[in-house]
């Protein structure tokens, strides 16, 4: 019976989890900013 080696699990985890967590932290921190600080374009 073959199993996926630990090194492969590490590659799969490292290619996804840290970047997802970093983006989540960025999203939560920056979403809380004062809406007035957002730069607004003229939609015309």
């Amino acid at each position: 019976m073959h199993e996926l080696p630990v090194a492969s699990w590490i590659l799969i985890a490292f290619s996804t989890v840290p970047w997802l967590v970093a983006t989540l932290v960025y999203y939560v921190r920056n979403s809380r900013r004062d809406p007035a600080s957002a730069t607004q374009n003229d939609p015309s």
Partner: protein, 485 residues
């Protein structure tokens, strides 16, 4: 005999695209409207448009095929792409948006010209050469794939398939402009996301579940389960990994992706877009590779590993879903073609006609010229796809690299390094592009097939830095500071 269910699904999809083009037409009457949707797009549209533009049919056919061919080893591509997308959204998007709004830029050469006070339009001229040469073949390669997909699923014949695919994209792009492109990208991205969520799950279940699939793959070839693949830690193995990871560098500064950041309604929409964009790219890439691995367990003797997705869709799903999978493949191609046509069209109208040749034509007439240019460029790509059938997949990765290596290094330095000079940015742009082309043409075979993105990107960065250090005293504040205010 063509399945009427598949045809119905396809016709429905194409009708929706026509509808989007028609709906978006009101905002395509000025050049800012036609080329950037008036900088008014919301977060979800930007997030999906960015990923759908970056990932062409290569994702669905090429990357699934890579999962089939090398198994877990292909996850190095996921690492490179997810890293690239994350860095782009966390560090590039908002500073770039702030700078381009400040300069009222519509194109990337617009930004570079304003940032470096380039009165001789050298950035625009160089960018035009690079964009036209890369976009022509990139688009033709996608149309070639579209022609083959129509032919395989509907029996239209290759040439008719190319014409049908091109006509649809050219219609909604020319009529609706960037807004139609972006919203059709949203639809196309959602279709791709759904496909790559469902296919690996169904494939793994059909293969007997995760343990059975892994056991099956290990019995076929133990290297399918190892991260280093069959080459291990040899030079060839390391070079392969670098090449896999290098694919993701383009997300940091390919011009067709930077245009998405510029088109955002405001800074907050970019923040909101970051999370769906990163989740989406993870599902895209991991889903494609896991689908390929499941396909290998189910169909170990495929003659063409890049046919694994069509084969799985036909073997595992009802014809309605087979039709949807055809639509998804076409969606992946179309979402890239439309963005490339708009990119090349904006370069010709804004950078060449208006800014370099000094056309005084009113805004509305320039937008009309933009539409005509879109049709003209699309027709040229059709001619190339029809006459040069060899223009296929490998060129997608080459053109992806050529565009990224020319634009990403000077743009990143312009944003984050105060001492970047005009001469440095020009050298980096020209050098990144030339090294990419020269590497692919002359050196690649002698260096274990190292993907041209690595030397091209490195050359672009190195030349920008070295020439800037030797030439300049420019102290323009970097955009990152402005973005934090």
């Amino acid at each position: 005999m063509v399945d009427p269910v598949i045809v119905s699904v396809l016709v429905l999809y194409l009708a929706v695209l026509f509808g989007i083009g028609f709906w978006a037409r009101t905002q395509s009457k000025t050049i800012k409207g036609y080329f950037l949707a008036g900088k008014s797009l919301p977060s979800w549209v930007i997030a999906f448009s960015s990923n759908a533009t970056g990932e062409s049919a290569w994702l669905l056919l090429g990357l699934t095929g890579m999962g089939y061919l090398v198994g877990v080893h292909a996850f190095w591509i996921v690492l490179g792409e997810v890293f690239g997308v994350t860095m782009a959204w966390l560090y590039v998007a908002r500073p770039f948006k702030a700078q381009t709004d400040r300069f009222d830029s519509i194109t990337v050469p617009d930004y570079l010209e304003a940032r470096f006070k380039d009165e001789r339009n050298l950035f625009r001229k160089l960018a035009a050469v690079i964009i036209f040469s890369m976009v022509a073949f990139y688009t033709a390669a996608q149309l070639t794939a579209a022609g083959k997909a129509f032919d395989i699923f509907l029996g239209t014949g290759y040439l008719n398939g190319v014409f049908i695919g091109a006509a649809i994209v050219m219609f909604y792009t020319a009529v609706g402009g960037f807004k139609a492109v972006a919203y059709s990208d949203l639809l196309q991205g959602l279709l791709m996301l759904s496909c790559l969520l469902v296919l690996p799950v169904v494939g793994i279940v059909a293969a007997g579940g995760w343990p059975a699939m892994i056991d099956n793959l290990g019995a076929q070839d133990p290297f399918l389960l190892t991260p280093m693949g069959s080459e291990g830690l040899s030079v060839k193995g390391i070079v392969a990994i670098l090449g896999f990871m290098g694919i993701g560098l383009a997300f940091l500064g390919a011009p067709q992706l930077l245009a998405r950041f510029m088109s955002a309604r405001n800074d907050r929409e970019l923040v909101r877009a970051s999370l769906p964009a990163v989740v989406c790219i993870i599902v895209f890439d991991a889903g494609a590779i896991l689908s390929g691995m499941a396909g290998r367990a189910l169909f170990p003797d495929l003659g063409d590993h890049e046919s694994v997705l069509p084969v799985m869709s036909q073997a595992l799903f009802h014809p309605v879903f087979t039709g949807i999978f055809l639509v998804v493949i076409l969606a992946a191609m179309m979402s890239t073609i439309d963005s490339l046509l708009i990119l090349a069209s904006s370069t010709l109208i804004r950078d060449v006609l208006q800014k370099t040749l000094g056309s005084k034509a009113p805004d509305s007439r320039l937008a009309t010229y933009g539409k005509l240019t879109t049709l003209l460029l699309g027709s040229a790509a059709v001619a190339l796809a029809v006459t040069e059938a060899k223009v296929i997949f490998w060129f997608v990765l080459f053109a992806w690299s050529g565009l990224a290596c020319a634009f990403a290094p000077p743009v990143l330095c312009a944003l984050f390094w105060q001492r970047t000079t005009r001469q440095g940015a020009l050298a980096g742009m020209a050098g990144g592009f030339i090294v990419t082309v020269a590497w692919a043409a002359f050196f690649k075979a002698g260096f274990y097939d190292l993907y041209e993105m690595i030397p091209g990107f490195a050359a672009g960065l190195l030349l920008t830095v070295v020439v800037s250090l030797r030439t300049g005293t420019t102290r323009e504040p970097a955009a990152v500071g402005a973005a934090r205010t």
